[in-house]
């Protein structure tokens, strides 16, 4: 008996759930990259750089959805402010890219970004220093969102703000940041944000190879994040998190400091969002306060809801599907997009509480039970 349980309790943490996803993801990525780089542009199988960047963007969103799902699907904390962490990560990367422009900016000022020059700034604000170092910027891209999440979580979870209140607070948080980043005094380029990037760690952002490799890196990161998250969530830590979701008070009564668990999970999720943001910016070529807008954050939640919360794969699927739909819709009949999105919100919450993946598993269940019946008959 004990052997079984032994195997069982370890078996779940093995990669056998994550492998299929990782393999498919990386395979697709590899094919896309190769066909873009080595197939002639006119061949049927050629993947244009346009679609590569598009895919790259989707993958960033997928990672973001993953972050939302971890905190919402697994711990029941609905954060309407994850856009903030995403954007902060993006800004860190943006600042780095900005510094990389150097004297190739319109004003040819070696250390001041253009917008500072024509706002008449004399020297670099303190928080821009060091941002010209890639490693430093990347640390910031992870640290700042993490820190914000920690402070917010520390305040919120320890005073047991939960449920809807928390959601509204997170929304207020991102809203406040939105207003703040719109201010030009903040030194983040105000409404225009940061754009006109030239190159990243020495590679020109305009070359196909850079774009492709950015895309590849994104895919890789997504895979890594996916595996890590899966392992964390299927460790005992993960079980505690589920316990918190289902009955927080019970979890406390068997001796878990649930607030700490929530804080750290929140931080982890925020960090993922930050990474996603950092990968997003060089691919779309601009970061601006719009990313903070509450609507965005809510849209992320709907990706997860559509895909199926509480399952990592669901979050990814949801993000990819919804965004693909968005791209198509806005191209075909833009006016209808908001109707579609809104309808999606309502229908999913009403009829697909477990999302697509949930539906799928339900169907599987049904089929299995049927087959069982048949075999019995």
């Amino acid at each position: 008996m004990s052997v079984i349980t032994q195997y069982f309790s370890e078996g779940r943490t093995s990669g056998k759930h994550t492998m299929p996803f990782v393999i498919i993801l990386l395979a697709v990525t590899a094919m896309a990259c190769l066909s873009n780089l080595y197939l002639p542009a006119d061949s049927a199988l050629h993947v244009s750089t346009y679609s590569i960047t598009l895919l790259g963007k989707y993958l960033c969103y997928a990672m973001l959805a993953l972050a939302v799902d971890i905190i919402w699907g697994y711990c029941g904390i609905l954060s309407l402010g994850h856009g903030a962490f995403f954007a902060l990560g993006g800004y860190a990367m943006g600042m780095y890219l900005m510094r990389q422009i150097g004297d190739r900016g319109a004003y040819g000022n070696p250390d001041l970004p253009d917008f500072m020059v024509f706002l008449g700034w004399k020297e670099l604000p303190w928080f821009w220093h060091g941002m010209d170092q890639f490693w430093f910027a990347m640390i910031m891209a992870v640290l700042i969102p993490g820190l914000l999440a920690f402070v917010f979580g520390w305040l919120a979870f320890r005073s047991r703000v939960t449920g809807v209140y928390l959601s509204i607070m997170t929304q207020a948080l991102t809203y406040a940041l939105l207003l703040a980043f719109f201010r030009n005094e903040m030194g983040f380029g105000g409404n225009n944000g940061l754009t006109d990037f030239k190159d990243i760690v020495g590679f020109s952002l305009q070359s196909d190879t850079t774009r492709v490799s950015l895309f590849a890196i994104t895919a890789l990161m997504l895979a890594v994040v996916f595996v890590i998250s899966h392992n964390i969530l299927s460790s005992r830590f993960g079980k505690v998190i589920l316990a918190v979701r289902d009955s927080e008070s019970r979890a406390r009564f068997i001796g878990y400091r649930t607030d700490r668990y929530k804080i750290w999970l929140f931080v982890f999720s925020a960090v993922i969002a930050g990474i996603a943001g950092a990968l997003y910016v060089p691919q779309v070529g601009i970061i601006n306060p719009g990313e903070f807008s509450p609507i965005n954050s809510i849209e992320m939640v709907i990706w997860v809801a559509v895909g199926g919360r509480g399952t990592l794969i669901g979050a990814v699927i949801g993000a990819l599907l919804v965004n693909y739909a968005k791209t198509r819709f806005t191209a075909i009949l833009p006016e209808a997009w908001l109707f579609a999105l809104g309808g999606l919100f309502v229908l999913v919450t009403l009829y697909l509480p477990k999302g697509i993946v949930g539906l799928y598993t339900q169907l599987l269940e049904k089929r299995r039970t049927q087959s069982v019946k048949e075999s019995e008959a």
Partner: protein, 286 residues
Amino acid sequence: MNAIQHTVESLRHTFRPDQVWPFLAPENAKVNVDKDIILYVEGLNLSFDGFKALNNLNLYINDGELRCLIGANGAGKTTLMDVITGKTQCDSGSVFFGQNQNLLNKDEAEIAQLGIGRKFQKPTVFEEQTVFDNLELSLKTDKGVLATLFSRLTPTQIDRIDDVLKIIGLAKHRFMLAGALSHGQKQWLEIGMLLVSDPRLLLIDEPVAGMTPDETERTAELLTSLAGDRTVIVVEHDMEFVRSIARTVTVLHQGSVLAEGTMDQIQSNKDVIEVYLGEQEEGATS
């Protein structure tokens, strides 16, 4: 004004000669039960806007005894447990676990980690997780974030879980989702969760509600067997059950202790008769 009192109070508390300062005291010092009393509840008061749920309640539980709390609805039984386990803050009074652990300045988690286990009136288990996981979560281990992150089940732990599974008779439902269990089974699972965490003090709220007679019997055996190396406090309406297990019984009434003693003494006690046994049927059916 209030603040001043409070600070004075805390100052006095800080400089009490009979105890070392918390930061000097060894980490989670063992519960001190030289006076073999494990729970001191003194002058406990608590009111929900006007309604006095606890009214200057005093209660002492000996180490290793099995104590039954009875009382009409609203007598304050559950509220008392809430205060002890840190769910509710009381207005005034003191609750000590052993002689050295002041429970009032600890939160639920700390209290639980001290070895006070609780079973709720209506069974609460983690429905989305398997029976096994439920037990694994309640194992007596380091419950810090990092620890849980990297913890693996040791064979001994697994054996422990298996034993408990046998005791509570859920061995073959090991990998069933707890949500799918029957009401009675959930009761058992919850008791099991208490067992694996082997606590010093068990607070058990209406364990047999919704159990079949023989289940009830098994529960009774289990609880009596537990008493001795553990201390058990049972809240129960079912008089039969109480009589079958009780050595000492405490009757609560309107938030304070009405009477205490063996079942027979209680039943012969006349204020008890008038305030409680009169309502027994009603109580028993609730």
